[in-house]
């Protein structure tokens, strides 16, 4: 392409990063929110009670079982999810019978009041799950098509990461270089720092993202090498499953789950139940799987205890067997999803995810910053391509966070009994995003940046206030109840609002600083047309050298 390999790769990095940069930003940001999807869902269901302190696991299991006996009759398999650090309510779930024409019925979760054992009526919401699922299954597109688009974008991301490393001469020293300059060099340094600081994360998250759909993307290879049965056997080897006793169709009386739990408790020597799975309920083969909090990146058979629900005896399971490659494969998944992460690790995940989003954003801004001096000199104004990138940048980098906030607004403000409410929450988000993408077309870039940054700050600051007006699960109450999940959500909104306010202030300040010298710049430009001005030469030199 260019004279040297590194020059070619610089060119390649620029365009590979630009072409789907906005989609990647969307994937990174919504994916990052996924690390807190349970907490987000909890906030979006304000009908749930506050955190319940000091209720024993046995009591919770009794309450859940009593509810299931009354409400899930004839259901063989059901689950009990105990309150955890991430989701502080007692939940039960089971799969409903399949509707006509569908393979499997819908899995429904009920949230129970841990004191009364009654079901809590919640508003219909997509919650955090819908939000994070968008990062690999685009909302309005068919599943299969969006997997392929996601794969294409991820592939370009992987290319951008690897070419980024290749073109980086001094990856180590640059890590300690930050030139707090305005304009091009400043943005270049920001982009470099954000990329290098979390490089292993960027690589891991992109590569593992591709691995999730390995058998979709590389179907040609598996089709050439295996037949259907072999593929099934291979998938069983890669994703091993625990073998279960089948239903014997012979009714039997089960012991209480809370009594069975004692087996798990003695095995673990600890009282740290995460969830319970029931199989073949009310059958002679009824058995229960007790699972404690995942603590390993890889599979740990000791996290699960299986008990016969009729006799109360321990069922010794053969641990799932992983081959070396499936260990690597599943290890990548585990790193991607971060289920094993405790509170601190989860926040680190969240911040590295944000760093990834910011890396993409800074790269996109860098593209325009680099071309700005030349574009401004254009007699007919900036090119269509340049303006498009600039508008997409404003509409996505600031617009998408506003749109996500609108998703939360929709959750609070749409009528609770509205038909199709879940879809409308998402529609509100995408309509707002569309509007924010269109808005910069009609405004000068500087004004649009400032106005959308201000709007973002307002929107995030006002959200906790709307929460106060519409629910009783607001900051005042959640702090009083020491419900840190709920309080954390509102506090995070305020911090995000603060960040946007600071960005808007900083942006304004930089503009004002430039303003007195604007005439000077015009003068320079005039002279530049006549003869190359000295003061612009080094800048152009920098353009060529640095980007």
């Amino acid at each position: 392409m260019k004279d040297s390999f590194r020059q070619s790769m610089k060119w390649f990095h620029t365009w590979v990063g630009l072409i789907v940069g906005w989609v990647l930003f969307f994937m990174f940001l919504t994916g990052t929110l996924g690390y807190f999807y349970q907490e987000i869902t909890r906030w979006m269901e304000p009908e749930r009670p506050f955190i319940e302190h000091n209720i024993s696991n046995e009591r919770l299991l009794d309450i859940a079982q009593a509810y299931l006996i009354n409400n899930a009759q004839g259901v063989d398999e059901w689950d009990i999810m105990l309150p955890s650090v991430r989701d502080q309510n007692l939940r039960v779930g089971w799969r409903h019978p399949a509707e006509a024409g569908k393979k499997r019925g819908k899995y429904k979760i009920k949230v129970l009041d841990a004191n009364t054992g009654d079901e809590i009526e919640r508003r219909a919401t997509g919650g955090g799950r819908l939000l994070y699922r968008m990062h690999y299954r685009f909302h309005y597109l068919p599943t299969e098509i969006s997997y392929w688009i996601v794969g294409f974008c991820s592939m370009l991301m992987l290319l951008a990461v690897i070419t980024g490393v290749v073109i980086h001469k001094k990856i180590f020293t640059d890590f300690f270089t930050f030139r707090a300059k305005k304009g091009l060099l400043g943005w270049l340094d920001i982009h470099n720092v954000l990329s290098v600081i979390a490089l292993p994360f960027h690589f891991m998250i992109t590569y593992s993202g591709l691995l999730f759909f390995l058998f979709t993307y590389m179907v040609l290879s598996t089709n050439l090498q295996t037949n259907e049965d072999e593929l099934d056997a291979m998938l069983d080897e890669i994703y091993p499953r625990t073998a279960h006793l089948e239903k014997a169709n012979q009714a039997a009386k089960m012991l209480d789950i809370s009594i069975l739990y004692q087996q798990a408790k003695t095995t673990w020597q600890a009282d740290e139940l995460s969830y319970v799975e029931m199989f073949a309920a009310n059958d002679v083969n009824a058995h229960v799987l007790f699972v404690r909090h995942e603590t390993d990146i890889t599979y740990n058979p000791e996290d699960e205890v299986m008990v016969n629900a009729v006799t109360g005896e321990l069922i010794l399971q053969k641990p799932k067997e992983y081959t070396v490659t499936s260990m690597i494969h599943n290890g990548f998944f585990s790193l991607h999803e971060g289920h094993f992460a405790g509170s601190i690790a989860r926040w680190i995940y969240f911040f590295t995810g944000l760093i990834g989003s910011a890396m993409i954003a800074s790269g996109l801004i860098l593209w325009t910053t680099k071309r700005k001096p030349k574009q401004l000199k254009n007699p007919n104004g900036p090119d269509f391509g340049y303006r498009l990138v600039e508008q997409l940048n404003i509409g996505t980098i600031v617009g998408l966070p506003i749109a996500i906030a609108m998703y939360f607004y929709a959750n609070r403000l749409l009528p609770v009994d509205m038909a199709n409410r879940v879809n409308w929450e998402a529609n509100v988000m995408f309509i707002s995003w569309a509007m924010l993408l269109i808005y910069p077309i009609f405004r000068p870039a500087n004004k649009a940046w400032y106005e959308q940054l201000t709007l973002a700050a307002l929107v995030y600051f006002a959200l906790p206030l709307v929460n106060v007006l519409t629910t009783n699960k607001h900051l005042g109450n959640s702090l009083l109840q020491q419900d840190w999940n709920l309080a954390g959500f509102d506090l995070t909104l305020l911090v995000v609002g603060g960040c946007f306010a600071f960005a808007a202030y900083k942006f304004r300040a930089l503009q004002v600083n430039i303003r007195p010298s604007k005439q000077a710049i015009k003068k320079v430009e005039k002279q530049c047309v006549q003869a190359m001005n000295e003061s612009l030469l080094p800048l152009q030199q920098v353009n060529k050298d640095q980007c």
Binding site: M1, F5, S8, M9, W11, F12, M155, L158, L159, I162, T163, V166, Y207, L210, L211, L214, F215, Y217, M218, L220, S221, T222, L224, Q225, T226, E230, A233, M234, E237, I238, T323, V324, T325, S326, I328, H329
Partner: protein
């Protein structure tokens, strides 16, 4: 208007770039698949069939990335296409040869 003519004009520098994009996207994909066949054929006696296929699959993305980078680093688009086709042919031929020698068909 002149822009449009520029686009259609085959001697414009856009066409080799477009050609490289196609080479990287589809040629790179084909090479990735071909490499997975070769890798699994190489490993099949070491790790067993399923793991061999799996390793080949996991590595496809790296092969794909390297192929795409290579396509955009060589002097001309023509060279990129020829190189890709050669590599694909090499992978497939070697896979076939190995299968013949060891008697394990994929």
């Amino acid at each position: 208007m002149s822009n449009l003519i520029d686009y259609i004009n085959f001697s414009s520098p856009r066409w080799p770039v477009f050609s490289r994009v196609l080479a990287a996207t589809f040629g790179g994909y084909a090479l990735a698949i071909a490499s997975s066949l070769l890798i699994s054929q190489l490993l099949v006696h070491v790790t067993g069939k399923y793991q061999a296929i799996h390793i080949g699959l996991i590595l496809t993305f790296l092969v794909y990335v390297c192929a795409a980078m290579w396509v955009f680093s060589v002097k001309t688009a023509k060279k990129a296409w020829i190189g890709l086709l050669k590599s694909i042919f090499f992978c497939l031929a070697l896979t076939w040869l190995l299968a013949k020698i060891t008697g394990v068909a994929n």
